[in-house]
């Protein structure tokens, strides 16, 4: 399992480094960097594919297992993100940009066999929609690495929850997402004009929500439901950070507030998952 995990992370890092460098070409002046946002969409979409293919064959259409839809939902979100980065679309198209990834994720990632499927479809779609909007908003307002770092924290805590839920395949994917966000954090700290807004945002929203809720639907670990929901909703802490004190002070304080605002809910969810799993039988993969 650790070999697969290492390869998943290495694959995600490699894909993100190559695509982000090609798209953003960070040695250029600041003004030119905005044109590289399609690279964020492409990088996060493809970063998860090595992790998927290390554990599974490419799924048929439709896939036999509901969680396998994640690769197609990622492709749709990546295309939406890339299209969104290409120009300022009219309002009607902007609505579609938000609704399409959320609607597709909610419709296909929640199988009919899930208890209360329509409720969970609504929750999944809503979480993707809101997370997408929050990442777009934070990415447009905040320069630098604080937004990707906050999302890296969320993805890391999500990985812990998924690992404790005993789903190694989904854990590989979430770890790949975290690795991609790590690359983006470094790049954005180097060149603050690099942004996740209008590009990578729908892909990250779909990956984070889809993987965490799939783990909730497919596993048997005694982890509370609120732990899954809280960690997938953790990026909404960026919204809370917007109204938190300290935003108009030094940039590093504002960045720390953003990270903490995401870390608190994500950390609580991860701690609850670890505590629940610790009470269960000891087990090593």
């Amino acid at each position: 399992m650790f070999q697969l995990l290492a390869l998943s992370i290495a694959g995600a890092v490699g894909v993100c480094v190559v695509l982000m460098l090609i798209a953003w070409r960070p040695w250029r002046p600041d003004a030119a960097l905005a044109g590289g946002r399609w690279g964020g969409a492409a990088a996060f979409t493809l970063a998860l594919m090595p992790a998927y293919l290390l554990g599974e064959r490419w799924p048929g259409l439709p896939p036999s297992e509901s969680w396998q839809w994640i690769v197609y939902v990622l492709l749709v979100s990546g295309a939406v993100g890339a299209a969104d980065s290409s120009r300022r679309w009219p309002a009607a198209v902007r609505v579609a940009v938000y609704v399409l990834p959320a609607g597709v994720a909610g419709a296909v990632l929640v199988g009919d066999w899930v208890e209360s499927p329509w409720l969970w479809r609504a929750v999944t779609g809503l979480l993707v929609l809101v997370t997408h909007a929050v990442i777009n908003d934070a990415g447009e307002r905040c320069r630098g690495g604080s937004v990707p770092l906050a999302l890296l924290v969320a993805a890391t805590c999500a990985s812990i929850v998924i690992l404790e839920a005993n789903s190694a395949k989904l854990f590989q994917l979430s770890a790949a997402l975290a690795a991609g966000l790590g690359v983006c954090t470094v790049l954005a700290w180097w060149r603050p004009a690099v942004s996740l807004a209008r590009g990578a945002a729908p892909v990250i929203a779909v990956a984070l929500t889809g993987l965490v809720l799939s783990a909730k639907f497919l596993t048997y670990a005694p982890i509370p439901v609120w732990s899954f929901v809280l960690v997938s909703a953790a990026p909404l802490g960026l919204l809370a950070a917007r109204v938190a004190p300290g935003q108009r002070r030094r940039p590093w304080i504002a960045a720390a507030v953003r990270v903490i605002a995401v870390l608190v809910p994500a950390g609580v969810a991860a701690a609850a998952a670890v505590a629940s799993a610790a009470a269960d039988s000891p087990y090593g993969y």
């Binding site: 554990g55 297992e65 066999w113 839920a165 005993n166 789903s167 670990a221 269960d280 039988s281 087990y283």
Partner: protein, 203 residues
């Protein structure tokens, strides 16, 4: 006095004679195949499904599926009329470790929430020996159905104090990757051995 002694002796002899007509425990334990066809419901308490798989290339690990269900029809005169339909809930996997059970039930392996049942349904039965049958059927697990052929040993059919019972057993192997359960090929073997012992009560 003599009359009383004779009466007691006669009573004892009569009692012994009556006891001799009762089926003994020993007789109940002996196999005694019946010739009439019957359909049996699987007894989940006295039936077992054990699986084994190699671990890390050095060990061999066993687990079980609890509470099998289903029914089978035995017709000693016409084996082609025999049928075997046995299933188990995927979430009934039991490896003596709750977290490992959870992992096996997850989408990494059985995906028990989406595919809750593992079933075997015979499609043809042929006599293979005095008490063995060659049974071909469809094995469904993880949403994938594959034909398998197994040798089933009919262990016995008899009237007991628990009713009219019959039982059989079989051991066979499957390739887990054929059922799209291929995760962790480095740690777990592809070949899974299944040992099945089924007891049923006449419906």
């Amino acid at each position: 006095m003599r009359i009383r002694t004779v009466a007691v002796a006669v009573a004892l002899l009569g009692g012994l004679a009556w006891l001799a007509t009762l089926p003994t425990v020993q007789a109940q334990m002996e196999p005694g195949p019946r010739t009439d066809a019957a359909t049996f419901k699987v007894d989940p308490v006295h039936s077992s499904i054990i699986f084994g798989i190699s671990h890390m290339g050095v060990g061999y690990f066993y687990g079980r599926f609890n509470s099998p269900y289903g029914e089978f029809h035995l017709d000693p005169d016409d084996p082609s009329k025999c049928t075997f339909e046995v299933g188990v809930k995927a979430e009934k996997v039991d490896t003596n470790n709750g977290r490992r059970d959870g992992h096996i039930k997850s989408a990494d392996f059985l995906n028990a929430k989406q595919f809750p049942e593992i079933t075997f349904k015979s499609t043809s039965v042929k006599k293979a020996g005095t008490s063995t049958y060659e049974v071909t059927g469809d094995l469904t697990a993880h949403g994938v159905t594959k034909p398998v052929t197994v040798q089933i040993e009919h262990l016995g059919t008899r009237e007991t104090e628990r009713g009219h019972l019959a039982g059989f057993r079989t051991t066979f192997t499957i390739s887990r990757s054929a059922f799209d359960i291929s995760y962790m090929p480095q740690g777990l073997g592809d070949e899974v051995t299944l040992m099945v012992g089924i007891e049923g009560r006449k419906k």
